[in-house]
């Protein structure tokens, strides 16, 4: 178990390094002057020149990179070229809505998806077919489109939830929940169907294994066989998928935050991309990568806890 | 019988696993197989019998010792030499279900030993494949079907046909009948004996079932934990085992005779077989007399 964590952590450093190098390489690939790209074609040349120097673009690439890296290690991710604020605090200020969204969405996906999957595996019949079909449909309905549909009906027509905006948890937990209800629903629908399908398949597989029959034949209770023994084994691939999904929800937040006007990391990154604000984007990439790594670590730990053979490997 | 054995294994040592945690699976095994002869290699799982087969065929690297086929040292043969060897040496596996690619027709699998052979054109290949199928008692049109359409016994016949399609001189079979049902098992055992009589190949026969080995083999080599504990004429070893391990092994096999089986089980319950490493008897099976058949 400890080895598993160490291996994961040992992998984090090189990963961040490669990610940051990639970001830098991309910028050096920009045709023409990045400063010109940032400021647009109408900006006066002296302004471009100033920005050019401010971004350190007159120095060789390796030097640029190293100085950025040294600063980044000290927590300084540079300054936004559009607002001039420091990137670190900017990102920190936008973390809460994004993390809230991911946390709630992952929770919803995990609980609802697993419950649906287990129920459909145990009951079978129409519910089982529904889960099978829904998993395909869920993949087909884009989350951002669903978000718009939800806004039209639940927010605009029936006024059940606010259409946009974010209420911090500290301000009002209920308001926080209400402001996140629609975003979470839009983000998690497709993922719920995917997790339900995986849980169903995995449960069906485990329920057909020999040890389940041996337990049945030797008179253990059905409840214990299904929920204590089978579910535990079946949960291993589900948790792995949940890790993948919650990492991919991270991507969905970019759109969802944008639509619901949540002041999160995703909408910040989209804004930065529109303004060609490279330092902010770099910071966002680093931050997102860190979150992905943490999610992966948690998923690994959960799997090792569920199945002793995973940790022993 | 020529003076030079078809297969000669001298002091074979095989370590498996990564360098530091390697375990010695085969520890100084020597044996020979002559043309037209069947040598049975017996042992329980972990005795190293399958590893010996894999080492002979170049599927597992050899740590020490030598493997000679027809007098030629092939212990560390390269890819090219191995490919040339495939004309002479073939293998049949235990599992008739995974030894044939389920997604390929029987004919496609059977033709493989002929693919890289010079002077065999596609028409000739078809003839040889049909002949091989006929030899193992299957209709020629089986070539157009998939492995899934055959039973375990039939698949083992197909595997035999594939091994023999290129007329090898040495056949290695790794537990070829232990996955089969009793009535089918006897059919395959007879088929192996018939084919050997017809084609005259040398046969290294690996099995855990002493009765089957005794029935099919001229000589028998008993392995325990990677070492040879007893070797000699198959009938003699079966009737009058000298090594305690061989005796324990024989006692452990339940014979289809209630009186003897019960007595053996009772004796076994009183005195389980020795578990420690087998003493080195210094047996050199090559020095043993050849069967008279």
């Amino acid at each position: 178990m400890v080895r598993l964590v160490l291996r994961r952590l040992a992998w984090t450093g090189p990963l961040l390094f490669v990610v940051s190098v990639l970001c830098f390489l991309l910028i050096s690939l920009v045709p023409g002057d990045p400063a010109r790209t940032v400021l647009g074609p109408l900006a006066p040349p002296e302004q471009v020149e100033a920005l050019h120097r401010q971004m350190g673009l007159d120095r060789p690439l390796t030097v640029q990179y190293l100085s950025w890296l040294v600063a980044a290690v000290h927590g300084d991710l540079g300054r936004s070229v559009s607002t001039g604020t420091s990137v670190g605090p900017l990102i920190a200020s936008r973390l809460a809505p994004t993390l809230s969204l991911i946390l709630l969405a992952t929770l919803t996906v995990g609980v609802v998806g697993t419950a649906l999957g287990v129920l459909s595996a145990v009951r079978g019949g129409p519910l089982g077919r529904l889960v099978d079909v829904a998993s395909v449909v869920g993949l087909a309905v884009p989350g951002f489109w669903l978000a718009l549909v939800l806004i039209t009906w639940l927010a605009v027509r029936w006024r059940l939830f606010p259409a946009t905006g974010y209420v911090p948890f500290g301000e009002s937990p209920v308001g926080w929940l209400r402001s996140l209800a629609l975003p979470v629903a839009a983000t998690s629908l497709a993922a719920v169907t995917a997790v339900a399908k995986q849980t169903r398949d995995s449960m069906l597989d485990v329920l057909s294994r020999d040890f389940v029959r041996v337990m049945q034949a030797n008179g253990l209770s059905v409840r214990s066989i299904v929920y204590r023994h089978a579910l535990r084994t079946a949960a291993v691939p589900v948790v792995a998928l949940l890790g993948v999904i919650s990492a991919s929800l991270l991507g969905a937040t970019v759109l969802i935050e944008n639509i619901f006007g949540l002041p999160g990391l995703g909408s910040g990154a989209a804004l930065a991309a529109a303004q060609h604000d490279i330092p902010v984007l770099q910071g966002a990439v680093v931050c997102y990568t860190l979150i992905v790594v943490v999610i992966g670590l948690l998923a690994d730990l959960a799997q090792a806890w569920l199945d002793p053979r995973v940790g022993a490997r | 019988m020529s003076g030079r054995p078809l297969l000669a294994v001298h002091d074979l040592v095989v370590d498996l696993g990564r360098r530091r945690s390697a375990t010695r699976v085969v520890d100084g095994v020597s044996l020979t197989v002559a043309a037209g002869e069947t040598v049975g290699l017996v042992g329980e799982s972990g005795s190293g019998k399958s590893t010996i087969a894999r080492a002979v065929l170049g599927l597992t690297p050899v740590t020490d010792g030598r493997v000679l086929i027809d007098g030629v040292d092939v212990t560390h043969a390269g890819r090219r030499q191995r490919r040339a060897l495939s004309d002479d040496v073939q293998l049949v596996f235990q599992d008739p279900f995974s030894s044939l690619n389920p997604a390929r027709r029987i004919g496609d699998s059977l033709v493989e030993p002929l693919l890289n052979r010079r002077g065999v054109d596609p028409a000739r290949r078809r003839v040889l494949v049909a002949e091989a199928l006929h030899r193992v008692g299957l209709p020629a049109e089986s070539a157009h079907r998939y492995p899934g359409q055959f039973s375990g016994g039939q698949r083992q016949r197909i595997a035999l046909a594939r091994a023999l399609v290129g007329s090898p001189r040495l056949l290695v079979t790794d537990e070829p009948v232990s996955a089969l049902d009793l009535s089918v098992r006897a059919q395959i055992i007879n088929l192996l004996a018939d084919l050997q009589a017809e084609l005259g190949f040398g046969h290294l026969f690996i099995a855990h079932d002493l009765a089957v080995v005794r029935h099919l083999s001229h000589r028998m080599v008993v392995l325990h934990r990677g070492r040879v504990v007893e070797a000699g004429d198959a009938e003699t070893v079966y009737r009058r085992p000298t090594h305690p391990y061989t005796r324990a092994l024989l006692a452990a096999v339940p014979v289809p005779d209630p009186v003897r089986a019960r007595a053996a089980l009772a004796a076994f319950a009183r005195q389980p077989p020795p578990a420690g490493p087998a003493p080195d008897l210094g047996v050199d099976p090559a020095a043993d007399r050849h069967p008279t058949s």
Binding site: V19, F211, V254 | R162, F268
Partner: protein, 653 residues
């Protein structure tokens, strides 16, 4: 291999798939020649008709500039498909290439590629894409190329895993021994195996790429405004969401339908590509595991619903030998697998027919036969757990209950408490995720109602009873940390937890080495003697029967063909099948010469002959054998045989 045309026909036979193909063709037609679908220009502004619903002039309505939505959809198709194509090609080429290399070569290459896949996977895709569109504004091709690269991590992993597992297959070793070179092996064996997998993955990549592309356009990183794109249309709809929600529908539906079509087509193509042999793949898994898989439903009360029993329960007509004091008495037990929606064979087939069987207290009865004869199905049916949701008829009297008609509450008093069960493969018959002691304690507490501590003490006693010298250590182990012999002892302890009177053991020693087998047999003999435990032992090994059993019941093709005391079985077998089996055993055969054999193989359920089921393989069969089913006749007080000529002593020559 499969002819493409045949595959296409098979695939298109499904209506949903046909619809998917038609839809994709329509989208493709739009991409190549949008003017064929609509006469309107996508940027033509018809302001008076702005924000209109579907009408004759505008079949799908208009947006806020009065642009025709149908036309914009049609003209947006080209960009959409192009982006998808770029992503799919990139992901497939990179994924299959690297996955194949890593999986087949292993070693350093594998480690490097594995790291690369991890890296690609850890990158937050959409943020990377935001960087890309920020650096290359408006360039869809580069964005989708990048996305394809990021998505290739999934393909790399899947292809690598599949290649690795294929590489371990015996047929690869066989191909290498046949002298094939590595490229030959890859082409002939590995690539065909991957085809279905790659098709499905590629269709998923297409689906995800389409949504991602729409997302980017929605965020404003698609083609610049007047130019139509599906994601851009959703963005435009958003601006008028309150006044004109209809505008959301056409682009949303277009995206959803296209994604659905990709997925459906991918699945269907995979099925089509593997259909020639895949049906048999399942059968192979079943054969390999040595038994039929149970239908994966949860135990539910299983009644022969409503229908009255087909036969009077007693007396057993021409039945097997009855015992005065029988513990278990099975009469005319038949098992029929239900006809299901599953394709092809085995629907509504009888797999066990009219089995009569008795087990006395403390008696060890062997249920003997080859695979496919129904002995395992019989054993599981006695426990009320027939494989594949089979329907039971007949009766099965045990402890005053007819088990065929027992309900859940009655089963609770029987399973584990009065009948224990041991399965063939000990390595998979324990829950892999829990310690041995925990599992045993659960069984003990369930059956005895003991508290935590006394249950724990009882577990240790049980483990000692089954011959584990250090029960403390054993109890703390996980199943994967046990050897085969130890695991089987634990499995026996599990079955003994409720102190049953009858143990049903299904090939308990088949997966073990001979010395381990002898130990387990000795353990079963001792346990039966000490606890006066009756055992129904399912086995194919006549030696095991000889060593352990008091009586034997021989099964062939779903029927009992002979039933007698073990001494009789070996001294005076009456059924030609029993004689054939005994003669074919190399233990009994003479050293020299050929083994006597039974020709042919056991017929599969559903292919049983009408008359004597053994007749086609029987050396003594005459015309009369083939006409009508042969009854199980009693020859003596304890001997029954299903043969019209049981007195013929000639054995197959």
């Amino acid at each position: 291999m499969n002819r493409p045309a045949a595959v296409a026909v098979r695939v298109l036979r499904r209506p949903l798939v046909l619809l998917a193909v038609l839809w994709l063709l329509l989208v493709l037609a739009c991409a190549l020649h949008p003017e064929l679908v609509t006469g309107r220009d996508p940027v033509d502004q018809d302001l008076p008709a702005a924000l209109g619903g579907p009408s004759a002039a505008h079949p799908l309505g208009t947006d806020r500039l009065g642009q025709d939505l149908l036309s914009r959809l049609a003209y947006g198709a080209a960009g959409t498909l192009w982006g998808v194509l770029v992503a799919v090609l990139t992901a497939t080429v990179v994924g299959v290439g690297l996955g194949l290399l890593a999986g087949y070569l292993g070693g350093v290459v594998d480690a490097l590629v594995g790291r690369l896949a991890d890296l690609l996977f850890s990158l937050p895709a959409i943020v990377i894409l935001l960087v890309v569109v920020a650096v290359f504004p408006g360039d869809v091709t580069i964005a989708m190329l990048t996305f394809g690269l990021l998505l290739s991590s999934g393909l790399i992993r899947v292809v690598r895993a599949a290649t690795r597992s294929t590489r371990e297959e015996l047929f690869i070793a066989a191909a290498r021994l046949a002298g094939l070179s590595t490229p030959q092996i890859l082409r002939r064996h590995v690539l065909p195996r991957l085809r279905g997998l790659v098709i499905v993955q590629a269709s998923l990549v297409a689906a995800i790429a389409l949504v991602m592309q729409a997302s980017l356009a929605f965020l404003g990183f698609g083609p610049p405004p007047p130019e139509p794109s599906w994601g851009g249309m959703i963005d435009e709809a958003r601006m008028v969401i309150v006044r004109h929600p209809w505008a959301l529908v056409p682009p949303g539906l277009a995206v959803a339908l296209t994604v659905l079509s990709f997925v459906l087509l991918g699945d269907a193509a995979r099925d089509g590509a593997t259909a020639a042999w895949a049906t048999t793949k399942l059968a192979r898994r079943r054969r390999r595991s040595g038994r039929r898989r149970t239908h994966p439903t949860v135990p539910a009360p299983r009644h022969p619903t409503g229908s009255a029993p087909a036969h009077p329960v007693e007396p057993a007509p021409a039945g097997g030998p009855g015992h005065a004091d029988t513990l278990l008495s099975v009469r005319r037990l038949s098992v029929q697998l239900p006809g299901g929606p599953a394709r092809g064979a085995r629907t509504g087939t009888t797999v066990v027919s009219d089995v009569d069987l008795d087990v006395g207290p403390g008696e060890i009865v062997g249920l003997v036969g080859e695979s496919g004869c129904g002995k395992t199905v019989t054993a599981l049916s006695i426990l009320g757990l027939p494989p594949g949701d089979g329907q039971l008829t007949g009766s099965c009297h045990f402890a005053g209950l007819d088990l065929v008609r027992a309900d859940d509450r009655q089963w609770r008093t029987v399973r584990g408490r009065r009948i224990g069960y041991v399965a063939q493969d000990p390595m998979v018959s324990l829950d892999p995720t829990l310690r041995v002691g925990v599992q045993l304690a659960e069984a003990v507490r369930r059956h005895t109602g003991l508290g935590r501590r006394p249950a724990r003490a009882r577990v240790l006693t049980l483990l000692r009873d089954v011959g584990l010298p250090e029960p403390d250590t054993a109890a703390r182990r996980y199943p994967h940390q046990l050897s085969g012999g130890m695991a089987q002892r634990v499995a026996i302890a599990f079955a003994l937890a409720g102190d049953p009177e009858l143990l049903i053991a299904d090939e308990p020693t088949t997966a073990l080495d001979v010395t381990r087998q002898a130990e387990i047999l000795a353990l079963l003999a001792r346990t039966s003697r000490e606890r006066r435990l009756a055992v129904l032992l399912v086995t194919h090994d006549l030696g095991v029967v000889a060593a352990l059993c008091d009586r034997a019941v021989v099964m062939y093709a779903g029927q009992v063909v002979e039933s007698c005391p073990v001494t009789e079985l070996f001294a005076r077998p009456r059924h030609p099948y029993t004689r054939g089996l005994l003669a074919a055993d190399p233990h009994r055969a003479s050293r020299a010469g050929r083994l006597p054999t039974i020709t042919g193989t056991v017929p599969a359920p559903g292919q049983w002959p009408t008359g004597c089921r053994f007749a086609p393989r029987c050396p003594l069969a005459t015309e009369s054998c083939r006409h009508a089913p042969v009854p199980l006749d009693r020859l003596g007080p304890a001997h029954a045989v299903r043969c019209v000529r049981p007195d013929e002593d000639r054995v197959a020559a």
